[in-house]
């Protein structure tokens, strides 16, 4: 066998290995959640009871599905104006120079900060502020978590956007300018239609990150296993619940947590799929 072939086989086998691992993860989640599914069926998704006490065990995923969707979607809404402005600023208005490159490094830095550090910052800096403002009594909850999540996902939402905005062909923009368009009109009528799908892809990536975030959320959401009454109430997310309760889980609780993992996986899958569909529509 020549080196060319060996290299080819090596590439192929490592690619297949990744696929096998992904399939293995799904299979493990699936097999692990069978006992819980047998017990509750699809009612698991709609039950709001989470009682792990022995003798009166009852598990349902609804509070955590709602908590996860609320925190991540709210985070995306908060992050949107900032991320979009940053993408435009770096992709169109100031592509080169010291200030943009400084801004870029700072945003990259945001992506590199471990989530537990965000959690600590939220706990010691943001939470007292929220409670001082009277938003809620202890400063914990969905809203606090969403703000921290919003900051965490800015790099994901903005970097892809600025990349595609800067790739909009110059000839198109120049054509618009030569027709007498203002800069704002160029942004609205040339850049956004051209780069829309790429910008959107960034938001999907960011949403995926927010859905799966664990540590920072656990530290700020209040970990109350009930359906939140509103965005200022306490709550819990799927990832945070698993991280909290997996260590001591056994029996029905164990398999219910695995099923929540499976649901989380499916939700992330659906978000990605929807994202791809919308991107296709936008770019068509």
């Amino acid at each position: 066998m020549n080196s060319e072939k060996i290299f080819k086989y090596l590439l192929a086998s490592s690619g297949i290995l990744i696929v096998l691992i992904a399939v293995g993860i799904v299979a493990t989640l699936f097999v692990g959640s069978i006992p819980s599914f047998k017990e509750y069926g699809f009612g698991f998704i709609f039950s709001s009871d989470w009682n792990p006490t022995e003798g009166r065990e009852s598990y349902g995923a609804l509070p955590f599905i709602i908590g996860t969707l609320m925190t991540s979607i709210l985070a995306l809404l908060i992050t949107f104006p900032f991320a979009f402005s940053i993408s435009l600023f770096l992709g169109e208005y100031f592509k080169h120079g010291k200030l943009p490159s400084f801004l870029r490094s700072v945003i990259d830095l945001l992506a590199g900060i471990p989530s537990v550090v965000y959690g600590l910052w939220g706990f010691y800096a943001l939470r007292p502020l929220i409670s001082e403002l009277g938003i809620n009594a202890q400063g914990f909850g969905i809203f606090t978590s969403s703000i921290v999540l919003a900051i965490m996902i800015i790099p994901y939402a903005s970097s892809l956007g600025s990349e595609v905005i800067s790739m909009v062909p110059g000839s198109l923009k120049e054509a618009a300018y030569s027709l007498g368009a203002t800069r704002f009109e160029v942004v609205r009528n040339v850049i956004i239609p051209n780069a829309g799908s790429g910008i959107f892809a960034g938001y999907i990536l960011a949403l995926g990150r927010a859905i799966g975030e664990t540590m920072a959320v656990t530290m700020l959401i209040g970990n109350s296993n009930k359906i939140p009454a509103g965005i200022f109430d306490l709550g819990n997310t799927m990832a945070s619940l698993i991280a909290n309760q997996f260590g001591e889980a056994e029996g029905l609780k164990y398999t219910s947590l695995v099923e929540i993992g499976l649901i989380l996986f499916i939700i992330t899958g659906i978000v990605n799929l929807l994202g791809k569909l919308i991107m296709k529509k936008l770019s068509a």
Partner: protein, 356 residues
């Protein structure tokens, strides 16, 4: 066709890699020397175990490793036979013992407690009766100026401040000990909430781990929560005295925790110390246990591995090692408990024969 061939080769390559990994695992001979002793489980006694296992590793040149993965994880690891010993803050119920693949023995190693910590301006010393504990932790008493609190704490300046209950969001032996106590002293608690490592809380905020609960309490005015004593003592957190069964208000301390174990103890050492009858005992105390299989010949373990495991545990309950407990804020086993622990260890067998 060529692509298909490529795919097949790749799959075979992966399969080979996997099978090589399996073949690499050598079966241990039954007469092999023990190199390491592995344990896993409860996080509550982990500082104590870390300290003494380090000493043991140095003195005996036998590596002892311990993974603080939680009591549930410890039980699971022992069930899967991947550790020499597990560790748990709650003893296994009869049902759970029956679920294990072999007979399991409990050996108590030290005592700890769960304390009620709070954040009030001026840091007043507070007393709690079981009725007050029930009222506060079940959300019936919602303000610190409630006359029920004042009745038990005459002369204490209690502010008009909302009570925020803080509990453990992660499954924890600490929660088990606390709720085990609450279930014993409050019929309402027993009926509505019950005892367990994680609960369905009627009110409050969940925080992860002792540091999370302690941090949330210290950051929230009017907060009250429960914390493992080893953590509270080490951090010097102000804690409440709690009225025990004899009617005395007992401040948690190493002495009062040790005193809680003065009652009768069954031969298998599985006993709950909460709501102790001992007059000077702190009522929310508990043993923490190591769990091992009675028959040590499993998973191709060698005789030496079994002997070394039992030797290690005998050393943990020895007088010299028990003296180390207080240095890391645990209470030592009373003499009667040590005798019971040694009697349990004497039952261990290898291939049906008692170990020397």
């Amino acid at each position: 066709m060529k692509k298909l061939q490529l795919l097949f080769t790749a799959i075979i390559a992966v399969a080979l890699m996997v099978s090589c990994g399996n073949a690499g695992k050598k079966k241990t001979e039954s007469n092999a020397k023990a190199k390491t002793i592995t344990g896993a489980g409860a996080t509550f006694p982990q500082p104590f175990y870390n300290k003494i296992f380090k000493t043991y590793t140095k003195e005996q040149s036998l590596l002892v490793t311990y993974g603080g993965i939680g009591s549930g994880g410890g039980i699971r690891s022992l069930k899967d036979k991947i550790v020499d010993f597990g560790a748990s803050d709650a003893f296994l119920s009869d049902k759970k013992l029956a679920d294990m693949p072999g007979e399991v023995l409990h050996i108590p190693t030290c005592l700890g407690a769960v304390v009620a910590a709070y954040n009030l301006p001026g840091k007043p010393a507070l007393k709690f009766t079981p009725e007050l504990m029930e009222g506060v932790f079940m959300g019936k008493i919602t303000n610190w100026n409630d006359p029920k609190i004042a009745a038990v704490n005459p002369g204490v300046n209690l502010p008009d401040l909302a009570i925020t209950v803080v509990y453990r969001s992660d499954g924890s032996g600490t929660t088990f000990i606390f709720s085990d106590y609450m279930s014993k002293v409050s019929t309402k608690w027993a009926a509505k909430i019950g005892a367990g490592k994680a609960l369905q809380w009627p009110v409050g905020i969940g925080a992860k781990g002792n540091p999370g609960v302690a941090g949330t309490i210290s950051q929230t005015k009017g907060a009250i929560g429960y914390i493992g004593s080893e953590y509270a003592f080490a951090q010097g957190i102000p804690v409440a005295s709690i009225q025990n069964q004899a009617g005395n208000f007992i401040l948690p301390s190493l002495e009062s925790v040790s005193a809680s174990a003065k009652g009768e103890m069954p031969a298998d050492t599985r006993v709950s110390l909460t709501n102790t009858t001992a007059a000077e005992g702190y009522p929310i105390s508990s043993f923490t246990w190591l769990i091992i299989y009675k028959e040590q010949n499993y998973n191709n373990r060698s005789l030496d591995q079994a002997t070394q495991t039992v030797k290690l545990i005998n050393w943990i309950v020895s007088e010299a090692t028990q003296k180390e407990t207080t240095k890391v804020n645990y209470a030592p086993l009373p003499k009667a408990a040590v005798a019971k622990a040694k009697a349990v260890l004497a039952k261990v067998t290898y291939k049906g024969k008692a170990l020397k």
